[in-house]
């Protein structure tokens, strides 16, 4: 049997997982240098029932915008988990090499509606300037530039409905 293994990032901590063996629901997994023998069954949409020895764990997954990002809840705690395979590593490295202290893409972690854009392409802005206001569920949030720079691109219009983490304004 070929080994199956790849990395995960959980709340920014990197993990390496390897599937050592499996037989039906019973799996043997190496997580970093810890071995787990689990009985794991998918019981509902995104819901896994896990037995570690006799101990019961219930894990709920929901896929986020792409297939590699998960919002996981376990014991009513939340974990942001991302699969880091070759493709993801490539993209991340590329993003990091693109990124740096002299650029800033503004986004809102919550989906919502663009209430107001207080800047225009070509404007010079200072770190801390409010550039865009997003509203969701009767709550408004202001998003500010993290750097001094020039507004290079605005990806949305006022009154647009936006997804969480979608790029809104690019400052360089």
């Amino acid at each position: 049997m070929q080994n199956i293994s790849f990395g995960l990032e959980i709340n920014k901590r990197e993990l390496h997982l390897e599937l050592l063996s499996r037989d039906g629901n019973k799996i043997n997994v190496k997580l970093n240098d810890k071995e787990y023998n689990l009985d794991i069954v998918k019981v509902e949409n995104g819901v896994y029932s896990v037995l570690l020895g006799n101990k019961v764990y219930n894990i709920e997954l929901s896929e986020q915008n792409n297939h590699k990002k998960y919002l996981v809840s376990a014991n009513n705690d939340y974990f942001d988990i991302e699969v880091v395979d070759a493709q993801a590593k490539y993209l991340r490295n590329r993003d990091n090499s693109l990124g740096g202290s002299n650029e800033n893409t503004i986004s809102s972690p919550m989906p919502g509606k663009v209430v107001k854009i207080t800047t225009s392409v070509g404007d010079e802005v200072k770190a801390g300037d409010t550039l865009i206001i997003v509203s969701a569920m009767k709550m408004e949030s202001e998003y500010k530039s993290a750097i001094d720079g020039v507004v290079k691109e605005i990806f949305v219009n006022e009154d647009d409905t936006i997804d969480g983490n979608q790029p809104l304004i690019y400052v360089e």
Binding site: N45, G46, M110, M137
Partner: protein, 502 residues
Amino acid sequence: MIKKILIANRGEIAVRVIRSCREMGIKSVAVFSEADRNSIHVRFADEAIFIGPSPSNESYLVIDKIIDAAKKTEADAIHPGYGFLSENAEFSDRCKKEGIIFIGPTSDVIKVMGDKISARNEMINSGVPVVPGTKENLESDEKALEVIKEIGLPVMIKASAGGGGKGMRLVKNEEDIIDSIRAAKSEAMASFNDDAVYIEKYVSSPHHIEFQVLGDSYGNVIHLGERECSVQRRHQKVVEESPSPLLTPELREEMGQKAVAAAKAVNYEGAGTIEFLVDDDLNFYFLEMNTRLQVEHPITESVIGIDLVQEQIRIASGLKLSRKQDDIQQRGHAIECRVYAEDADNNFMPSPGLIHQMTEPFGQSIRVDGYVYSGYDIPLHYDPMISKLIVWGVDRQEAMNRMKRALYEYKITGVKTSIRFLTRILETPDFVNGKYDTHFIEKNKDFLMNVEDRDETYEDIAAIAVFIDYINKLEKAGGEGLQRIGSKNWKNFGKKKGVLRW
């Protein structure tokens, strides 16, 4: 008796009202905006009618559209729920003019109780204690300084038309008085087009305790005991309980009598709530009256054994109250937790979006008043509260135990919710001991937000579940993905005769 009721609301409260209508054999009419075609209140009602675009000021808040819908569906009454048009005097009036029963008080009562200065004056005249302060708008700086000297610092300056903390200033030092009054007045003018402000003594660390009252059109008024609502975040109630751990039987009796007096002062008809501030020495003061159903009304229903919406409808139909004060008895203990779609770890940012899967708690003495379901996309446009979890227990301890069990069973995926935050509140020693006031959340912030006592095994198992889920996904996608990770025995993984393919 009323035959058909239009519910001028959405979300859990619309569903809740529809349920009582169905139980009473009264037809219900739902109204819905564009965002709400697949909301559950549309499915549960007998009839449903479209009233416009998603933003509430183009649908749920438009009086003409609501009245139109009621006429088209021949509803003989309108239940406003809470929020939206529920405390809108003009709406109450308009219903009356159109010959539709408004299930709530008359516009006069809404107006008197909606204006804080006039409400204070009504209470003072009826012998209901109010926070020491002024009875009228502060016309001059001199008057203000004189009054404040009499009351003593610290004081609150409040807008008469106020709400939501706007036009409100806490003054601790004498030198800040004049500036604060000006700032409050200008904010009040900007927010409410009315710069009237008044002064109240600042009650530090108050308890927020409210009494439910019912009044009929024959002048009968009773109270149904209290609700303790001191667990608040940004003036927003989060957890409520009844009875209050603070009250003694004597104080309950006394406050109940004052609540009845307050309602009688305005000839109150229907269900209403008298909110009091109570200080640590058990002095209590009238804060305001809510002339509608409260979000937290179910804890009263649990402890008293009554359906408040049915009572509202009976009163609006012109029936007499079916119970006297002596028939009312608190039994056991009830707690309510409000579940929000929000990210408690991230400054309580709203978290609208698609619910992938939901498991709600069941079992003895548990009630969930909610409106979302697996596959429902929580709209951006409305309140982030998705449900209220209410439990009853023989005593406070049993109620707390049951609430923790219910929160444990409650699973919502896809959006973040406040369930963990609520669980932490139930575990906070000050809450467990029943020793808390409105500063509870601020005071216990570190405990509430602490994540260090998390069980690390959960984190590992969460990672493994994702690992397996992702492998399954690659396997399902077939071809490339499958080859990349190799394959042995995968075909049957997670498959089981009859299990639905997700």
